[in-house]
Subunit: 202 residues, 4 copies
């Protein structure tokens, strides 16, 4: 930070620490969506079994947020410093992650509803889109802020591979109006795919 | 920390880490204010559409807290170490940030009420005032704790530019008694302004 | 991070910072499970005394999560860098920790129910199992990522000692169907054991 | 960490990061105790004015937790590394901090009740006692882990000065059975005292 009067450039340490904080809180708040049976519930097993969508939604969202964290880490790891546009795009990304506890609760409580599934998957889509915009800024527009020099071609290629992750979420969202369960299934499949070693070669 | 019996001077690392934590939690708790329609809600679309003020308030508060975080980072980044007064003023700043999930929920649930809008905007005003006091302490009163030597004139100028950010919030608060919507509009406009590249030249 | 196109290897700093965040939020959310008597409660002492299982469950879970944090720290401290498998196993570990505020609330509100105690202890078992898998990956499978070279025999021994911690949780879970209180007692005893200097010689 | 098989010694970085996390979450969860008037509340000003004890309790607890954070920082800043006993005592300290959102809500909702005030102040007392025990361990028992060599006499003196902070909380707790308001007043006075420059010469 050469010019102390210039508050817009910053090293990436605190950007990471703040982002880690928001993502960690969002991922942990997901548990508040799982209903504890009120005292006096007569058939506990039935009550708990009946709310399987809450567990499923918890797992999908937890994995998805965790994977976006891994990708976020890799992206920011490439940066030497951040400028105002990167800070603001990162803030928008955190905003789309921060809304996920709501979307997760919504789809768990209304699993038959196409609209709820579409909003759930739509939030993932939005998150993926903002991530791609931020990634594009980091890799292509602000290439001079990268920690390491990379030819533009290679940076474009990295970006395209990452950006293609938006596509399945668009499908999942559109298919919500066929069946909410298809949407949930695709979201689960995407999360599982990225959790396997298959995705580690990206 | 030359004198281990002196607990009041500290490097800024942990000050940043604690502040990042509080701001990250406060910004992420905002999502708890968005109501999930209870199971069995017949017209989900209507219910969700009807609560647009909750989404709007979420976005305004998220952006505003995010921007105060960016400014906080820039301010602390200038410090080499913090003394007791800076720690306490920083704590008061965090207290005004910590109250925002309440103020956000209040204005979202009572959007017609001038009082709710005035409190919402008033909390932003308070936050901006405490930020200015802390900034003044950092830049002017405790100039010897800065990481880099700057002429007093320049420091005063930086402070004045930053402190002028209080003014629009005072207007927004006063205008709540004309219409709560004007207040919300001004708060949204301030957040959007700082999110654009326009603000990055401050 | 030699190859910026390779997002899967990372230093352990941010892995620690994210894990610390999730564990810190989960451990602090436990307090939300303790019921505040509604205003107007006539016999406050009776109400507060009656909910002793909430305090007990808070303490057991707090200690247990705290001890897993200590162990997590020691485990990650051995790593020089993390790969995709380690990141994903760590994410699964955080998922099992993240569910504990739910399981804690469940057992506190339904302390007579074997099922609730079995789920509570079962969550601890699951956490211990995933911890062991991650620990095995760190110590044995990915030995080349360790910060310090250790003979395989010694690494196996460290792992076995750590993995044996799963056993008492399996017993505690099985015994829930004899009495929920036995399960709670064993879970409390495990937490207390690890909190004493006895455990520090592991 | 010379011996990788020894997980009980650790540098203080992650101890600080985890403690910062827990304290930051606890201090920010305090806001959840402030009731948002339900939609349709006719006299918003009356409702909000009537719950002044919630604002007061928020402020006292926020300041008190913030000050314990400042003291915690100073204490850990003296350490070069932590052992098992220090980790466990620190965990117990975090447990007493983690309970404060409950105690704060309790006293705010039952401000006329001596019992509620005694529990509130009692939690502060407990926190101060555990802090003193931890501080004693750091300064006196484990003096060889300090970052800087200090004569035992001086360390004892530092400790005694710090430990004396328990006394006013004991008084505040005992006086709850005279009047809950006296207790609240003393707790507020203690927080304000430590927030002034008076306390910075400790």
């Amino acid at each position: 930070m050469a010019d102390p009067g210039e508050g817009d450039r910053m090293g990436t340490n605190r950007l990471e620490s703040f982002s880690d904080g928001v993502i960690a809180v969002a991922i942990t708040l997901l548990v508040l969506n799982i209903t504890v049976p009120p005292p006096g519930t007569s058939d506990l097993a039935h009550f708990l079994g009946h709310q399987w969508p809450e567990y499923l939604a918890y797992m999908i969202s937890f994995l998805t947020i965790g994977i976006i964290w891994i990708n976020h880490h890799a992206m920011i790891g490439r940066l030497r410093e951040a400028d105002h546009t990167i800070l603001i795009l990162n803030l928008l990304l955190l905003m789309t992650i921060g809304i996920l506890p709501f979307a997760t609760d919504l789809v768990a409580k209304h699993r038959h509803e196409s609209l709820a599934a579409a909003i759930y998957s739509g939030c993932f889509t939005l998150m993926a889109v903002v991530f791609s915009l931020l990634n594009r800024q980091v890799l292509i527009v602000r290439g001079h802020l990268l920690a390491e020099t990379l030819p533009l071609d290679e940076r474009r290629q990295i970006w395209r591979r990452a950006a293609s992750g938006v596509v399945p979420y668009v499908f999942a969202t559109a298919l919500a109006f066929v069946s909410a369960y298809i949407t949930l299934g695709i979201c689960a499949a995407i999360a599982l795919y990225y959790a396997t070693p298959l995705a580690s070669t990206r």
